[in-house]
Symmetry: C2
Subunit: 524 residues, 2 copies
């Protein structure tokens, strides 16, 4: 196919006129064809108005037809594999195998939501029937169900050009909820974004839906995104990116005449706790597993480990040496954008320049390449210096050594909100693990044991999101079927005639849902 470099405003294309930009090949350091045209203000306006018009139509679409729409998107994405392979590796520096895997994941997300809609019970239907004889007052008939909030603005992420971008998890969960989407493409992979947008548009057309169900806006800067978040038609925002970007959107959304929620997933340092027995028993195997996790995707994952906390004792020296060896021997890897590579180099240099921190491994990062780095500091330094627990996006970790288990727990208790925390433990560590768990549960979205945090499974039980600043709102997950809850709210119907009720609430339960009837789950 050929790329036009123009926004998709409902069924139309945007027009040239806004500021232009191009993709960039980070591996070769060259600009890519074609030029992309930023959306003009009237195009942002039109996309939002169309989304507002489409909202009631999509909300009224029976849930199982919405499932068919999601299946169409999944198919359209998979059918575009050759196009993605032609442009995405160039735009991102990511290898083709990763792109194939991520495409499968992106399509899989739409399919998982389609299955959720087919089953249907996720709408949390609740029924409390009338009690006309109750004294002193009769009870009316009350029924509630989750309904879509309206148009959602989705910001593509730089580090997942498919699974967290235009056709990523935020878009999938918003459309699944019944909310039109206005997506803002990440400027680091515009051709990928245009192709993904066309796949969604094809599904909109194939299903005969209102054109406003989906639009895609380009912009190299922040203006289009800011107008989008400020537009009255937009009712919620999905974002994956930096803390600065996330906080800026949160501030914009909170300052609106009608504030709206922003679901910003802003990354974290994903601490790893190496408990004494495990460290003594298998220091090399743990170092190998963690090195692989730290190096994966050049460390450009929200769940990449950035802090390792051990207790001084048997195995520690072996672990440190092995991890340093593995990270030091890894070749520098292309990073997603020159700006990300630059920030990574700065972060590594800041740590290297500290006198309270020892450099254990540090390759040479140059141009768009990032080389892994490992630093070591005493736990008391980590406890005192916030800079050592700030994320350096890329393959960079701080290894800290506590004098005893109590100090390790203290490090855990001082952490900011995190997406994940990992505990490496053996049977003999159980008491310490049990002591750590409540502290970790209070600070993270996902606690894992004897694994690595990279690799986020898409499934009903996944929680990808943690207390601020890992996410803007730790009450919601951005991955897995639970993500749909971000874009719905309950509406109660009191004494509404059966024929006027949404099918989910009708007395005969035509969709055969599990419903909470008088407080009891029933499928009748």
């Amino acid at each position: 196919m050929s790329w036009m470099g123009l926004s998709l405003i409902g069924a139309e294309r945007g027009e040239p006129g806004g500021p232009t930009f191009t993709g960039w090949n980070p591996a070769e350091g060259v600009a890519l064809e074609p030029r992309f045209h930023g959306a003009r203000p009237q195009e942002v306006e039109r996309a939002c108005v169309l989304a507002e018009q489409a909202a009631p139509t999509l909300a009224a679409l029976p849930s199982r037809q919405r499932a068919v729409f999601l299946e169409h998107i999944a198919e359209a994405l998979l059918a575009a594999e050759a196009d993605f392979l032609a442009v995405t590796p160039k735009e991102t520096g990511l290898p083709p195998a990763r792109i194939q895997g991520e495409l499968g994941r992106a399509a899989g997300q739409f399919r998982q939501f389609a299955r959720l809609l087919e089953e249907g019970s996720w709408v949390d239907a609740r029924i409390d029937r009338a009690l006309p004889e109750r004294r002193p007052l009769p009870r009316p008939d009350l029924r509630s169900v989750l309904r879509p909030v309206g148009p959602v603005a989705v910001f593509g992420a730089s580090n997942f050009p498919l699974a967290f971008s235009v056709a990523g998890g935020d878009t999938a969960s918003a459309l699944a909820a019944g909310c039109p989407v206005v997506a803002k493409a990440h400027p680091a992979h515009p051709a990928t974004s245009e192709r993904a947008g066309l796949a969604i548009r094809a599904a909109v057309v194939a299903c005969g839906l209102h054109e406003g169900v989906f639009s895609l806006l380009f912009d190299a800067g922040t203006e289009v995104g800011a107008s989008l978040v400020s537009h009255p038609a937009i009712r919620a925002v999905g974002f994956t990116g930096s803390r600065g970007g996330g906080r800026a959107l949160m501030a914009l959304a909170a300052a609106r005449p009608v504030p709206i929620p922003v679901f910003a997933e802003m990354g974290s340092i994903n601490p790893i706790f190496l408990l004494p027995e495990a460290l003594a028993a298998r220091p090399q195997a743990m170092a190998d597993a963690l090195a692989t996790s730290i190096l994966q995707g050049a460390g450009q994952f929200c769940t990449s480990p950035g802090l390792l906390v051990a207790v001084e004792g048997p195995g520690y020296e072996v672990f440190r040496a092995r991890l340093a060896e593995k990270l030091g021997a890894a070749s520098a890897a292309p990073m997603l954008t020159p700006a990300i590579a630059e920030r990574f180099r700065e972060g590594v240099s800041r740590l290297a320049a500290r006198t309270d921190t020892r450099t254990c491994a540090r390759g040479e990062s140059k141009a768009a390449l990032g080389a892994a780095a490992l630093f070591e500091a005493e736990a008391r330094v980590v406890l005192a210096e916030r800079a050592l627990t700030e994320e350096v996006f890329g393959s960079c970790a701080v290894l800290t050594v506590a004098r005893d288990a109590a100090e390790l727990v203290r490090v855990a208790s001082r952490l900011e909100g995190q997406l994940t925390a990992t505990v490496m433990m053996d049977a003999g560590d159980t008491a310490l693990a049990a002591e750590l768990l409540p502290t970790l549960s209070d600070r993270v979205g996902r606690v894992l044991m004897n694994g690595v945090p990279t690799g986020v499974e898409v499934c009903p039980a996944m929680v990808h999101g943690g207390p601020f600043p890992a996410s803007s709102d730790g009450r919601f997950t951005a991955v897995g079927t639970g993500a749909i809850r971000r874009f719905v709210r309950p509406v109660c119907f009191q004494d509404v005639p059966d024929a006027l009720l949404p099918p989910e609430l009708r007395e005969a339960n035509p969709l055969h849902l599990w419903r909470t009837v008088e407080g009891v789950l029933k499928q009748e």
Copy 2:
């Protein structure tokens, strides 16, 4: 009992030293005994620190023991009935029968949450078991469950001294979720607040819980509340009150280094749509029902009707005349506080002074008494003038007449977020009702037909909360068992040994919960 007028800081009493104030008898216009002492800054600090210390202990308490705690609170509240009857009517001007009813409601809320905890499935346990043979990568074991967010600040409401105050729905749902509560008493009913706080404290002691599970702070102004919302230990806020107050708390919470959610329920005008057939068939009966609703509690309910929308046609004149007669004949009723009475008078005067609005009924409001008022305006005026759809807290309504059904729908489509919307309809109005419903569902928390919005049932299906500005976050209800969702977030456990998992997630399902296993609801 005797009232001390001092805050409850965990197991201790606050000390005199802060600014003092008294309750006020609005019916008699006299100050009440004793003097209440505002909490000093170190007391706010101590209450928050205690709550933070109590949080892990309350989170670890088995759900069924938490239910026992809630039952104890319910009993302690009911046992204090004589004390409430001695002080609450004086502090609020509300009649004893209302206080008795509200006390039953307050106790009932704790009992309803106790039953929810006993059953236990509300924690949304999800289990996706490991798939070690999956290719290309095995799947780990993933299990998630809702857990408490931590200490919650609760602001008592002026208009429900029991059911939405110190021992009201916010406190009940936060404690049910496993979150310690630091309550800020509303200064309009301090003696009621002290007594309710003592009931909760008695239950804390009886159940042997950490003293930090509950504290109560007094303050006549806004300083204590502001410090509370800004304190790092506080993780969420519950508030019922004015839009100004709610927005101020939202701004404070958003500006924190770690922002937290504010659940502010800020009231609305609860529009009533009188469809043509119903209006023609039973204008007098509808006028009577609505007059009763508008007059109930001197109109001091969040769900009091403030806008009535009819179509010009048969029955309209009869309806208007009857409603005006009923409201005009009602005697002026004591309002909760002199400030509320003053704002009511101002609001009524502003409407009366408009040249585009006709006064249909207006009694004489004086001192602390509020007399009902009814105004009439054409729908085009209501569409053009925001002032006619702003809440006047008290028995004051605007009746608007549309030229046709389309204009009535247009009025609905221009409304701000509302707690409720009511449709009065007969069988012949079904098509118009069906047309109205999606518009109303998009703007309100509860749609009701042929009823009155006052009277909010406490039950699983209730939604008391609507899109902004009715609530700060329309995704949550403040009444009914669903209110517990405001104070929890999901945590995922990956490959965590069974013995270390919370009981809700253990393989044997010891609590016999309904759980989502591989996406399917099961009780095994």
